[in-house]
């Protein structure tokens, strides 16, 4: 499972790295700002891209979670099927050898 987590992190890094470089992920934005002024009341539509940084939802955690989940789910299922298959195959081989010997254990 550790391998799966490492793989998931490894393969999601290239997705968010450019965003970190461009500073568009929202990570660490709140920490860099000093006491933002309270927003002025508005009675009209404001596009989400024009909201103050602290009101915007960071995209990177959602993206990383999505990709990590996909990798972990697929890897976990592959491991699960492989383990079930090898268990059944071992039992088949044991029974076949028992039948060949004419005994049953």
């Amino acid at each position: 499972m550790r391998v799966a987590v490492l793989l998931a992190l490894l393969f999601t890094t290239p997705l968010i790295a450019p965003a970190f470089a461009a500073g568009s992920t929202g990570f660490g934005v709140a920490g860099q700002q000093q006491q933002p002024e309270p927003p002025k009341p508005t009675d009209e539509f404001v596009p989400i891209s024009q909201l103050p940084a602290q009101d915007q939802l960071p995209a990177a955690p959602l993206l990383v979670t999505a990709y990590a989940f996909v990798w972990l789910a697929l890897f976990g299922y592959l491991v699960s099927v492989s383990r079930r298959l090898s268990k059944v195959q071992r039992e088949v081989e044991r029974l076949e050898s028992d039948i060949a010997k004419g005994t049953r254990t």
Binding site: P14, L62, V70, L78, R84, L85, V88, I99
Partner: protein
């Protein structure tokens, strides 16, 4: 396993490992930005979810009307993949929706129909596991309903008012975004083929084991 399996598995692994780099190289979508990149895994996994439900339904129909155990094994394997790819779709979708729509979930027609299809696949597996004798045919009947739900899921965005993107989005993508999407789609299709073959193999071995136990008892 067949001869093609290992080279095919290797190629799939390489393509899957390359897919995040291909996706990262594509420009950001103008209104959603970074989070839209979930789309490149969400849409292919949703396609595999629907494809596996169709495979399960067709194999179940053939099992019901022709009684072929091979088709029953295929249906069982496809039902498990429906649950797997359905889970991926239903997790990645809300992660994208939280940013794009402002909510994790909405009882939209496509989302609700997808959830129902996923629950039908779970019902199939639960009936097979705990249904006792005759559960294979009962489950096959369920799989037909799961398959009937698939066109409903697909066309729902075009017929009902919804905030989910329509099916017409994909053909209108810019070339680079379309290329990344189809690359990812091929990866998922190859993985689906591999997992289905592996899972069918498990059912074949279980059938062989049952036959061996029967031969010992005789």
């Amino acid at each position: 396993m067949p001869k093609w399996f290992m080279p095919f598995a290797g190629l799939t692994a390489v393509m899957f490992a390359a897919s995040p780099f291909v996706i990262a190289s594509v420009r950001y979508e103008s209104t959603m930005g970074l989070v839209q990149k979930i789309f490149y895994y969400h849409m292919p996994s949703a396609s595999m979810f629907l494809l596996s439900a169709v495979v399960c339904g067709l194999a179940s129909a053939r099992y019901l009307f022709k009684g072929s155990p091979r088709q029953d094994r295929l249906a069982y394997a496809a039902a498990e993949l429906t649950v797997l790819f359905g889970a991926i779709t239903l997790v990645t979708g809300p992660l994208w929706a939280r940013k794009a729509w402002g909510v994790w979930w909405t009882w939209d027609v496509r989302l609700t129909a997808s959830l129902m299809g996923w629950m039908v696949a779970w019902a199939y597996l639960l009936v097979r596991k705990y249904g006792g004798p005759g559960s294979d045919k009962l489950a096959a009947g369920l799989a037909l309903f799961g398959m009937a739900n698939v066109p409903f899921v697909y066309i729902s965005v075009n017929y009902w008012r919804t905030i989910h993107p329509k099916t017409s989005v994909v053909p209108t993508l810019p070339a680079d975004m379309g290329m990344a999407l189809w690359f990812s789609f091929v990866c998922f299709l190859m993985l689906f083929t591999l997992l289905l073959r592996l899972r069918v193999r498990l059912e074949e071995q279980r059938a062989k084991l049952d036959a061996l136990y029967l031969s010992l008892d005789e």
